[in-house]
């Protein structure tokens, strides 16, 4: 039984050192290379002062060196913190301040971001910086203390580790409603139990060629990476720039001869609306998986008809319960395009519960709050007992066990399937990203020339899922334009959190309690969207 997630690579390296593990463009790393290089870097990390339980931040885009860095961190008995290198420095600084990494591993493309981040952090002591680029790196606020030439001199043999299955493998930061990202702690055991179930369920094998579509700070990438390593398959990393052109994504699937394609629904919708998928396309693809938000049924039907040789599986689950907690494999084409796709049944070792406000089960068919119990549950939020206590509750049926409150609403049907019915709060999903509208509102409220402002999520029928819509009133005597507001938000928020629709008002509508009437704002944006007739609105059959 595997105890630590890096052991998958060690096992493949022992039996099949020359098999390819990672592919990005022309770049390839075999299991043997990945094992030896990560052993070397792990030794260097330990010698640089990394102690068991320390954090190592990965300031690198999605590439083989970043995954190598993650493995080395684990082998040094530390937890890695993948950084979204497309995020602005002030937001990254909040994550660094919370994680307090001992070491930061940076590559040349992220050196400028690191410099800017170090200018914003409030860390008492600057972390040690290591370069994973070709040579040493230097910025205004840092100079790398080691680079690949240094770890090349270290022993490549197996590394002794002290960590066990209950130790933290990584911290994944997600949007926080008060403006500060929350770090979800994920244990080795959390990942091991999911990937062992999933690779068994999907029959993942050595000859598989698996997509690596989500970015590394997204928990779905954990399945791509460790599922691939468990099976000894090949992980084909999808460059983020391809997301701009659906035809390029389709070409990637074809030319990489992928057998598994796993992405967020907005990508499926984008590719369907722009006719990127041909009839009987992607002949090598056996499995198509999605997770992260609702996939519109017409888009699924489009894909199922165009790629009839593949199986289609919906995965559901928040980061706090590790990758996914339930699954539903389509038994065939949905009977109707208006039927939403169920989130299915719990994965092995996990349990889905629909409860009322007193934590009592609701009757079948009734809508309630969706909770998750079982092996996937994170120990909680990094250094935040309050938020942990609010979301991870004692299991009312079993003292000592816990249940996680997802914030999602759900109900069950007589066939035993669970159905997702939206959110109970103001968290939204846009292009697969989980976004707390409160984080955007917090950033807006820091702008002095705005009077009132509010952000609402509206389904405008576009491919992005929920559109982020901002209404604001300029402060008295000012005439601040949306482009200006957007520009300033961009300095503190990642692009995927920027509102795409704007409404400038003299004052925001209020409800009877004097609070901003978000329902009326939503109606305004819905009406506005309905009055437009964007091209490529419909999905071809």
């Amino acid at each position: 039984m595997t105890r630590l997630i890096q052991e998958y690579v060690t096992r493949q390296a022992e039996g099949r050192p020359d098999a390819t593990a990672l592919v990005l463009g022309e770049e390839r790393l075999t299991y043997g290379q990945l094992e030896e290089e990560s052993n070397r870097l792990a030794r260097l990390l330990a010698e640089s002062g990394c102690r068991r339980g320390d954090r190592v931040s990965i300031f690198q885009p999605k590439n083989p060196a970043a995954i190598l860095s993650m493995l080395a961190t684990l082998k040094a008995d530390c937890a890695y913190v993948p950084i979204d290198v497309a995020s602005p420095a002030p937001r990254v600084a909040k994550i660094i301040d919370a994680a307090e990494p001992r070491v930061i591993l940076v590559d040349p493309s992220s050196a400028a971001l690191l410099d800017a981040t170090l200018g914003e952090t409030e860390l008492p002591q600057a972390p040690l910086v290591g370069s994973v680029g070709a040579g040493p790196l230097e910025g205004e606020r840092f100079a790398s203390r080691f680079s690949p030439a240094d770890w090349a001199t270290y022993d490549a043999g197996p590394v002794q580790t002290a960590n066990g299955p209950d130790d933290i493998a990584h911290l994944l930061f997600t949007s926080g409603s008060t403006g500060t990202p929350k770090g979800v702690m994920i244990k080795h055991e959390n990942v091991v139990t999911f990937v062992e179930w999933a690779t068994g369920y999907f029959g993942t094998k050595e000859t598989d060629r698996i997509s690596g579509h989500p970015p590394l700070h997204f928990d779905l990438s954990t399945f791509d990476i460790y599922g691939t390593f468990l099976a000894g398959a090949e992980l084909h990393l999808v460059p983020a720039s391809l997301n701009l052109i659906p035809q390029k994504l389709a070409e990637f699937i074809r030319s990489s001869e992928l057998t598994q394609w796993f992405a967020v629904p907005s990508i499926f919708t984008f590719m369907a609306k722009f006719e990127a998928v041909n009839q009987d396309d992607f002949p090598t693809v056996e499995r198509v998986l999605w997770c992260g938000e609702v996939l519109p049924t017409p888009v699924l039907v489009h894909w199922m008809k165009r790629v009839p040789h593949a199986t289609f599986t919906n995965l559901y689950g928040p980061t706090e319960a590790t990758i996914a907690s339930s699954y539903y494999t389509m038994p065939g084409l949905p009977p109707s395009e208006t039927d939403p796709i169920p989130i299915g049944v719990a994965c092995a070792g996990e349990e889905l519960l629909v409860l009322d406000s007193e934590l009592k089960p609701v009757a079948e068919g009734e809508i309630g709050d969706l909770y998750i119990a079982g092996v996937g549950l994170s120990p909680g939020y990094w250094r935040d007992e309050e938020k942990t206590a609010a979301a991870f509750l004692d299991d009312p049926r079993d003292s000592g066990a816990r249940i996680y409150k997802t914030g999602d609403l759900a109900r069950t049907t007589p066939d035993g399937l669970f159905h997702f019915l939206g959110r109970a709060d103001s968290q939204i999903k846009s292009r697969g990203y989980r976004i707390e509208l409160g984080e955007i509102e917090t950033a807006l409220s820091a702008l002095a020339d705005l009077g009132e402002s509010a952000v609402v999520g509206v389904d405008v029928g576009g491919f992005e899922g929920t559109a982020i819509c901002c209404a604001y009133a300029p402060a008295a005597g000012t005439d601040v334009q949306p482009a200006d507001v957007r520009r300033r938000l961009q300095t503190v928020l990642p692009t995927y959190m920027l509102p795409s629709r704007w409404h400038v008002m003299d004052g925001l509508p209020k409800n009877v309690n004097g609070k901003i009437d978000r329902r009326r704002l939503r109606e305004h944006f819905e009406q506005e969207a309905a009055n437009e007739s964007p091209a490529a609105e419909r999905v071809a059959p």
Binding site: L244, Q247, Q490
Partner: protein, 83 residues
């Protein structure tokens, strides 16, 4: 259409339609995170409206909208094509 005129109109589309202020003609819109798939699709619709050209997504390269200058060149090329 003079190149500078196209460029100014493209810049205006960014500011007024997409609500994106681009610092300069050479700013790398993709690397700097100004354009994502959503903004790109809106941009293409806006270019088609503004310049009465057809810019099919399946004929595009990522470098075509790397910066304001390359977008202006794209529009100029689309303009020169028989419709």
């Amino acid at each position: 259409m003079a190149g500078t005129e196209v460029s100014a109109r493209v810049q205006r589309i960014f500011a007024e339609t997409l609500n994106i202020e681009v610092p300069s003609d050479e700013t790398d819109l993709i690397e700097a995170g100004y354009i994502d798939s959503l903004a790109l699709v809106e941009l293409l619709f806006a270019l088609e409206r503004e310049f009465s050209v057809s810019v099919p997504l399946d004929e595009l390269e990522i470098d075509d909208f790397r910066n304001l200058q390359s977008i202006s060149e794209l529009v100029a090329a689309a303009n020169g094509r028989p419709g």
